[in-house]
Subunit: 384 residues, 2 copies
């Protein structure tokens, strides 16, 4: 299948490109290097010594014998998107091409506006390109579990049957996102749903949990193929950040009470999920939502797990509860359905002490590259 | 109260400015004349001979003795918004400052993108200006009943209590908007709700129905104070358009089966509702949603009403069912709650034969100004 990966230079985009290429698909990647630019802006860096996208593609050719096509440009530019679609004629589009950080979107107004414009306009351009150039193509869009927020009822996969005043309808699950970034994903979801209803676009909206991990079967083939790994307060996610903090002897920074519970998954399961979604496309006009995670963890549970593994490895890990820079429920009910990907064949790789140990071992290899400055939480949801 | 009206040159914005000024409030208006520009782009025009905003303000001073302050600029420009807020220090912001047409947003990708960017960025800029400059100010934001779409259950005012798997929560009412414009209003609603939850902003989101009518107590004082009245396929709304079609002997263009049912209200009731919302503000952190309409009508019922009144006035009115250029349910359940504004004191002016007759009489006065070209429906939801 001809698969176009938007954001193919990112943490997940690059491993996905290799994984689908390895599986025999014709893969092309699009990127404007926004994530590398953000990293420069923040004075942060990838733990792993990532190569340029051009070099990655060359290395992948050497290692696997397979070609990945490259389009450099910004999907917020409609003309560029049309050129890519006309050239490559994708059958499947995996859309990671968005500003992916909640704290980044909360820095100030400028970052909030640029996040929402970048993400919403890019996705609109892709929807119109599908409608007008490749109407049979299937959109696999990365959303986030954060679109739902933390309601006091079970979270369903995209839709919920509501009984009200004696009548019944199945409607989009209500959204209570927690940052300007999460809001942009909610806007995308509404726009994509509309395109499916009105134009018959085929779409899968993947509400992904928090991804952890650093290695996939393909990144392991050659160090030049490694993916980026962020551990700073803006771009790093909870478990990845904790493991880096443990390695450098920095206290694990638990925000607030630490009862915040979210869905989590291993990066190798992201690879599985994307492949399953691509190879089992939605039908004409179908707007399909999968909750993409394998298990729920609270921040406290994660910190305790990392501390336990650290001790085993002879590291003295301190857990420090800091004032939550975010405004969010620090203790809440959380129970989200996630059966649709399992039904398609997902075999979860759950989070165990061994997995954390393995992650810490990999981080240790790059210990000298870790910058301490960008680790401490600075970006506050209400800076007043 | 110091009331800032964004979009103060529009169909509703200008009468609102006068109405609140007359009521004793200190009023300032902001506009970038987007609506006039759209009208030029479409080769359409206002039925009524509207004056420039500068002349309107001068005439209002002459007629009422009251000042309205003017800021010309684009609220998508954050620096301009900050200057206005710093200068005027509003206590209440009535936000009409958006691209208001569904068909306009569906012309093509460029119009879809510009609609969403314009509306979302303008509202984000206003939210940040409230947070940082006038945190006590109350935002009165114009949304639309079209945010809900046509679900098969009763529509509530913004929120719905959901019982699910033995638990209960009150959550935002699910949204199924029917155009790129309606989607932009859904995006705004999510962004505003977030600002209330996170920063304590006070907001009232008015999900307004379709407004009809041409005269208010203030526009009647002097012809220079008249408001714009659009009747073309892009900017005109159902009843206004039908009355103009009746006057020029053009068939009433009912789209599809005509069972499309919506909430409607008279322009004089919009004035009442805005005044009630402004004078009874939301509290700190409150995100309040009112469904702003007085009664439900189907398109067929409206066409029949206009035909009946036309006959009485000696006009031969023909109703013509044309292929629906939109993609929407043409027959559906529709029952939307609208009690909160009544509880605040709204006295509805319902749609009667006399009201239609009065509207037709006013239109006749300007009959020579009507352009026939822009009346026929051209903008299709799926142009393929």
């Amino acid at each position: 299948m001809r698969v176009l990966i938007l954001g193919g230079d990112g943490y997940l985009g690059w491993p996905t490109a290799m994984h689908l290429s390895e599986a025999g698909h014709d893969v092309a990647v699009v990127d404007n290097f926004l994530r590398r630019q953000m990293s420069i802006e923040l004075g942060a860096g990838s733990l792993t010594p990532i190569q340029s996208l051009h070099e990655r593609i060359t290395a992948w050719k050497e290692v696997s014998g397979k070609e990945i096509e490259l389009f450099v440009g910004d999907i917020a530019d409609g003309q560029f998107v049309d050129e890519v679609f006309t050239n490559f004629r994708p059958e499947s589009i995996v859309h990671y091409g968005e500003q992916p950080s909640a704290p980044y979107s909360m820095i100030d107004r400028r970052h909030a506006v640029s996040t929402q414009v970048n993400n919403v306009v890019g996705t609109l351009n892709v929807l119109y390109a599908i409608r007008d150039i490749t109407p049979e193509a299937h959109l696999v869009k990365l959303g986030t579990m954060g679109e739902y927020g933390t309601p006091n009822i079970d979270i369903e996969e995209g839709f919920i049957e509501i009984n009200h005043n004696g009548r019944t309808d199945t409607l989009p699950f209500p959204k209570m996102p927690g940052s300007m970034y999460h809001l942009s994903k909610v806007h995308d979801s509404h726009n994509i749903h509309f395109a499916c209803r009105i134009w018959g676009v085929k779409a899968t909206d993947l509400n992904q949990g928090v991804v952890y991990g650093i290695r996939t079967p393909e990144t392991d083939l050659d160090e030049r193929l490694c993916t980026r790994f962020d551990y700073d307060e803006v771009l790093g996610t909870a478990l990845n950040r904790f493991c880096v903090q443990a390695v450098v002897g920095y206290p694990l920074t638990v925000y607030g009470k630490g009862g915040q519970t979210r869905g989590f998954l291993n990066i190798v399961d992201t690879m599985q999920c994307i492949k399953l979604a691509v190879e089992n496309p939605a039908t004409e006009g179908e707007y399909r939502v999968f909750n993409q995670f394998t298990e729920q963890w609270s921040v406290n549970q994660l910190a305790e797990l990392v501390a336990k593994v650290g001790e085993r490895a002879g590291i003295n890990v301190v857990i420090e509860k800091v004032n939550d820079p975010r405004i969010e429920a620090e203790e809440h009910y959380y129970n989200a359905t996630h059966t649709k990907l399992l039904e398609l064949g997902l075999h979860p790789n759950l989070l165990t002490e061994d997995v954390v140990e393995h992650l810490i071992e990999t981080i240790k290899r790059y210990k000298d590259r870790i910058l301490l400055g960008p680790i401490a939480p600075k970006t506050r949801w209400d800076p007043r």
